[in-house]
C-alpha cells in the first residue's frame, strides 16, 4: 500500500491580494488563495459584479463552492442561494448559467487544479460526466443540532449524510477543540465566523485549512470568541480528472489562467 504524505495548507484569506478580472464579459474581483501548481489543492475567492448570466461551464475536478454572501440564482431547477450556501459538483459536471447579485462573495475550492471550460465548447460537451453529482442548498434551510458530548456546540449538515462528499458547519464556544477524522481525499476547513487556531496560527473568516491524508490532522481550536467552521470533505471523485496536460485539460488550464 502506498502511503501518501500528509498535506496541510493554511490560508489567511483576509490578507491575500485582490485583482480585477473579466471572463466572457463577466467582471469580478478575485483572490488566488492556493494555485494548485504544486499538485496540491486549488482555492479561489470570487466576488462577481452583479450579472444576470454567468456562462455555463465545468471544471475538470470536484468542486465545493461556498457562497459567503450575496445571491446566486440557477433558473433551471429554480434554485436560489443566499450566503451561507453550498454548491457541490463532481469533476466534469457542468452548471449554470446562473445570475449573481447582492454583493456576491464566494470561495471556489478544488482538491487539485481543475481549470475551467465553457460549455460553448462543443468538444467539452462530449466530456461531460453523465453520472456526475450536483448538490446545492442554503444553510438557512437546515436547523442547528446539538453536538452530543460537546457542551454549547452545535452543527448543521449542508449535504445529506449519504451523499458522498460531505459539508457540515460546526459552531463552538471559545477554546473548543474541533477534531475530525482523516480526510483521505481532502477536506477544506473554512472559518465562517469568529476565529480558529490552526497549527499555531489564528485564522479569521474566510480563512481555511486544507488537509489530506490517512492520519487525522491536528484538531482546530476555536479562538477567544468561538467560531463557526465549515468542514467540506471530498470523496473518491477528487481522484478523477484534473489538469493532465493533454486535450481538453490544456484548454481548461489556459482558460483558468486567462480568467484569473
Amino acid at each position: 500500500m502506498t502511503i501518501r504524505p500528509q498535506q496541510s495548507y493554511i490560508v489567511d484569506s483576509a490578507n491575500a491580494p485582490w485583482k480585477r478580472g473579466v471572463t466572457e464579459g463577466v467582471a469580478f474581483a478575485c483572490q488566488v488563495l492556493l494555485s494548485g501548481e504544486d499538485g496540491g489543492p486549488e482555492a479561489l475567492r470570487f466576488r462577481f459584479d452583479d450579472c444576470p448570466s454567468v456562462y455555463a461551464h465545468m471544471h475538470l475536478t470536484s468542486q465545493f463552492q461556498l457562497l459567503l454572501a450575496g445571491a446566486m440564482d440557477f433558473p433551471r431547477g429554480v434554485k436560489h442561494l443566499e450566503g451561507l450556501a453550498i454548491h457541490y459538483t463532481d469533476h466534469n459536471m457542468p452548471y449554470g448559467p446562473f445570475a449573481v447579485s447582492q454583493a456576491h462573495d464566494m470561495l471556489v475550492l478544488h482538491p487539485k487544479a481543475g481549470g475551467i471550460i465553457s460549455m460553448a465548447n462543443h468538444e467539452a460537451r462530449r466530456e461531460i460526466n453523465l453520472g456526475g453529482r450536483l448538490y446545492a442548498a442554503p444553510a438557512s434551510q437546515v436547523e442547528w443540532q446539538a453536538l452530543p458530548g460537546a457542551e454549547h456546540t452545535s452543527y448543521k449538515l449542508l449535504m445529506p449524510p449519504d451523499f458522498g462528499p460531505a459539508a457540515v458547519v460546526v459552531r463552538a464556544p471559545p477554546h473548543a477543540k474541533l477534531a475530525m477524522p482523516p480526510a483521505e481525499f481532502g477536506r477544506y476547513e473554512v472559518v465562517i465566523e469568529g476565529s480558529a487556531i490552526m497549527e499555531g496560527r489564528e485564522i479569521g473568516p474566510p480563512g481555511f485549512r486544507y488537509v489530506r491524508g490517512e492520519d487525522a490532522a491536528e484538531a482546530l481550536e476555536t479562538g477567544d470568541s468561538g467560531a463557526s467552521v465549515a468542514f467540506l470533505t471530498f470523496d473518491r471523485d477528487a481522484l478523477e480528472g484534473g489538469i493532465t496536460g493533454e486535450g481538453l485539460a490544456v484548454e481548461a488550464a489556459e482558460a483558468m489562467a486567462r480568467a484569473i
Binding site: 444576470p52 448570466s53 433558473p75 431547477g77 445570475a99 460537451r125 453523465l130
Partner: protein
C-alpha cells in the same frame, strides 16, 4: 449473445416531458434531430409537472425576474431558440394536450404532433389549454382537427392520458425532460453532443456512418 451479434431489440428512446416545460421545448429539436440522424423512433410521453393548474391556467406563475433569468439561460444554452421563443405569461393547462397526444398516437402521428404543439405554444404564443390550439396542431400534421376536438369533448383519451401520467410517476420521473437512450437515463435538458456520446457508447451509429460502411 456475443458482442459481435446484433441485438434484434429496437433501441429505445423515450422522453418524458410536459408541454409547459421550456426545457422540454428545447429538447424537441434535439430529439427530432436524433430521429433523423439515427435509426430510432423516439416516444414522447407525458409527465405532468403542475397537476394543480386549472384548465384556464394560472396567471403570473412565473415572476418577471424568473422570466428574465430563463431568457438569459436560453440565450446561453440554446441561442438558436433565443429570438423565436415566447415565454407564456401564465402557466398553461397541459392535461388536454396529453389527451391529444394519445389521439395522435393512435393515428401514428404523435411524434410530429408534439413538435407542432410545442411550436404553437413556445414560438407562436398559443394556449395549449384551449382545444382550438390542440386542433390547430393536429391540422398542421395532417390530422382531423374537428375529430380531435370531438374526442376531447367526449374525454375519449382522458383515462389513457391519466394512466400515462401515473406510469411516469411510478417509474420515478421527477423532472422534465427525462430522456431514456437505451440503457441510459438523462435527467433534464442536455447538449446534443451528450446524446451523441451516449448513442455512440451503446454502439448506435448515425445513419450516415452506417451508409458509408455499405
Amino acid at each position: 449473445m456475443t458482442s459481435t451479434e446484433q441485438s434484434t431489440e429496437p433501441f429505445r428512446v423515450v422522453v418524458f416531458a410536459d408541454f409547459v416545460c421550456p426545457y422540454s421545448f428545447l429538447a424537441v429539436d434535439q430529439i427530432d434531430r436524433l430521429a433523423r440522424e439515427y435509426d430510432v423512433q423516439p416516444m414522447w410521453r407525458p409527465h405532468w409537472l403542475h397537476p394543480d393548474t386549472p384548465p384556464e391556467g394560472t396567471p403570473g406563475a412565473r415572476s418577471p425576474e424568473r422570466t428574465e433569468r430563463l431568457r438569459a439561460w436560453i440565450k446561453d444554452m440554446a441561442p438558436e431558440h433565443y429570438d423565436r421563443v415566447r415565454i407564456p405569461d401564465k402557466r398553461q393547462y397541459s392535461f388536454r394536450a396529453f389527451e391529444a397526444l394519445e389521439f395522435a398516437y393512435d393515428r401514428g402521428l404523435d411524434f410530429a404532433y408534439k413538435t407542432a404543439l410545442y411550436d404553437l405554444m413556445w414560438t407562436e404564443g398559443r394556449d395549449i389549454g384551449e382545444p382550438e390550439t390542440l386542433a390547430a396542431a393536429a391540422e398542421r400534421v395532417g390530422l382531423d382537427g374537428a375529430e380531435l376536438k370531438a374526442a376531447l369533448e367526449e374525454r375519449l383519451y382522458a383515462e389513457r392520458a391519466l394512466d400515462a401520467v401515473k406510469q411516469a410517476h411510478s417509474i420515478g420521473i421527477t423532472n422534465t425532460p427525462t430522456i431514456f437512450l437505451g440503457k441510459t437515463r438523462i435527467n433534464g435538458w442536455t447538449y446534443y453532443e451528450v446524446l451523441q456520446s451516449v448513442m455512440d457508447k451503446q454502439g448506435m451509429r448515425p445513419r450516415e456512418a452506417l451508409a458509408s460502411q455499405l
